[in-house]
Symmetry: C2
Subunit: 355 residues, 2 copies
């Protein structure tokens, strides 16, 4: 019965009903009963959308850029879905969503579908929910899907890795921003966009980014940190390498672009470079490789959260973790002995099989 | 046989042999075979040490402060163990350890036992290893144990939560540091120490910290963010509350202290306040409550990593995660169906029990 209801929802989603899409994503986000069957059914209909992830510090101009990008695609006759993820906020929907929906309705139709999602305190839950929501948009038939997320922590990195192409938005400034990028987000950026490029210091930020990409992609430069200063003066060769890259469709050197999202300046070049990266992913076989890696990660993530649920149920059946903790404090046992004890039935299950 | 070797190591550790202590911690850090039995055996001998965690940004002066603190305790005739944890470094031992060992030997004996540990890429592995190393030092008989860690990410928070008392070291400055503290570490600080208090801006940093503690501890102030500005002018009442706190042994308001670690200024007041916090923990029953919570967290952490190992073994037995991922990409199945499938033997066996 319930299964039939979900199949109906999936059918209406595949038929292009926006209300069914919205409902499916709500079920995914809240992990409502039956959401797994929905995602399972949708999976077979995915794989056609182009998925771009956009991240950057608060104030870098992400939402303006995303809006302009969405409008650009829309003007080309393509359909667009946007998922704005805020890992630091425990709230969902609300003001941000409301504003963006109004903005979207200015475009004049529902071909730009906006949706915000927020952290739910679950280990890895947000990246799974993002991946599932992307599947819903993909199966629905959106041509372009944009994942927008704030900041550069591990959660954001996990979220943005759901995309095929990762854009890191950087604000021109003192160079502090660029320094912060070293801490994780640099490795995953395919494109770096210096937004607000009309601000003072923009060209310096571009140069700094180019140097960091050079250091990142040249293992010799990376290892030879003693010659850091020399590398900085060696920018010409870095530029030469970078400009060579587009000639070879099997090699991708991260590009640094400049935009002024508020005026739309640089958006066409951004779109073009995004398409170039997509072509590179196709030609090099990395698109397929990324899909495999992502599938493996999704499987592992689901297994971890599912088995943790089994563990919690087993702990409860045995009197709850608090009782064990009390025994540990009283020196009647210790954490390793408890873990051994609680996991014994799990081990037995696996060892006791006939095959 | 192996078990006998480990019992011998434990025995020698409990007899006060520093080499056995060092070897036990090495086994804990590298998760060598038998390390679990060692920690299990040690557990019964723990609970007497006073454990302090110290965290702060690089350059805040952590190691100098820790060295001064260790020397102070040593001069009082107490024994000290220090574990310096660097979650961002994949390396262990090395230069930092070397320097600190030399410093320690200046103290003239082995009553200050220094040890550095680093990240090993394992989920939660570092906080488990830290907790286990603390147990080794505690069982050995160290009176004071100091856990020193860099930064304010989730890993650092997990590591420092192994301690009964958490000290957050702050460098005087533009207030940026204090702003960063909002992101997680503020909630866990029992003491805030503005080190390098002879630097310009120190008193402003102290005032900012006091305001933040006021906002944190007064739920009304927290919710009423519209009156943020007004709260800033309301500092007097915040100070009044803070200075009231020590009178009531059952309430703890985080204290803000000033030190100049290089000269030793403020160390005696820090020691005194640490003892006050310890007394508060004892009197309020929070020490016992913390021990229970920590034991629960240790159990959960071990269960999670152990069950993940079982899962990986099960995945390998079934052909490996890559094969499943390939099938997902080929649309022969989907991640939820795979998770369901791989977990079935666990579910079946747990459900099929007689009790």
């Amino acid at each position: 019965m319930s299964r039939a209801v979900e199949s109906d929802l999936v059918e209406r989603l595949l038929d292009g009903e926006h209300r069914a899409l919205a409902r499916a994503i709500t079920k995914i986000e809240s992990q409502s009963p039956g959401y797994r069957d929905i995602v399972s059914e949708l999976h077979a209909h995915t794989g056609d959308a182009s998925v771009v992830g956009i991240t950057g510090s608060p104030g870098a101009g992400k939402s303006t850029l995303v809006d302009k990008l969405a409008k650009y695609y829309r003007d080309q006759g393509e359909t667009v879905g946007v998922i704005a993820v805020d890992p630091s906020s425990p709230y969902t929907g609300g003001a941000v969503l409301g504003d963006r929906i109004r903005m979207a309705s200015n475009v004049g139709d529902m071909d730009v579908f906006f949706r915000s999602m927020s952290a739910r305190g679950q280990l890895g839950g947000l990246s799974t929910a993002t991946a599932d929501a992307v599947k819903a948009l993909d199966a629905f038939g959106k041509d372009r899907i944009i994942i927008e997320t704030v900041g550069a922590g591990q959660n954001e990195v996990d979220v943005v890795k759901t995309a095929d192409t990762v854009v890191v938005l950087v604000q021109p400034g003192s160079g502090d921003d660029v320094q912060m990028l070293k801490a994780g987000i640099l490795e995953i950026g395919d494109l770096f966009v210096v937004n607000k490029a009309d601000m003072e210091g923009a060209s310096r930020t571009v140069a700094e980014l180019q140097e960091m990409i050079h250091l990142r992609d040249d293992p010799r430069a990376n290892l030879d940190t003693g010659h850091h200063g020399a590398d900085a003066f060696d920018d010409e060769s870095a530029d030469a390498e970078a400009s060579d890259a587009p000639d070879d469709p099997l090699v991708w050197t991260p590009q640094v672009l400049e935009t002024v999202a508020t005026t739309g300046e640089g958006i066409d070049e951004l779109v073009e470079t995004l398409d170039e990266h997509r072509d590179y992913l196709d030609a090099s076989g990395e698109l397929a490789e990324k899909a495999r890696k992502r599938a493996g990660e999704e499987i592992r993530q689901l297994l971890r959260s599912d088995v943790n649920r089994l563990l919690e149920a087993e702990l409860d059946r045995r009197g709850g973790v608090d009782e064990f903790a009390e025994a540990v404090v009283e020196k009647e046992t210790d954490p390793y002995a408890v873990a051994e004890d609680v996991l014994e039935p799990f081990r037995e299950c696996l060892d006791g099989r006939d095959d």
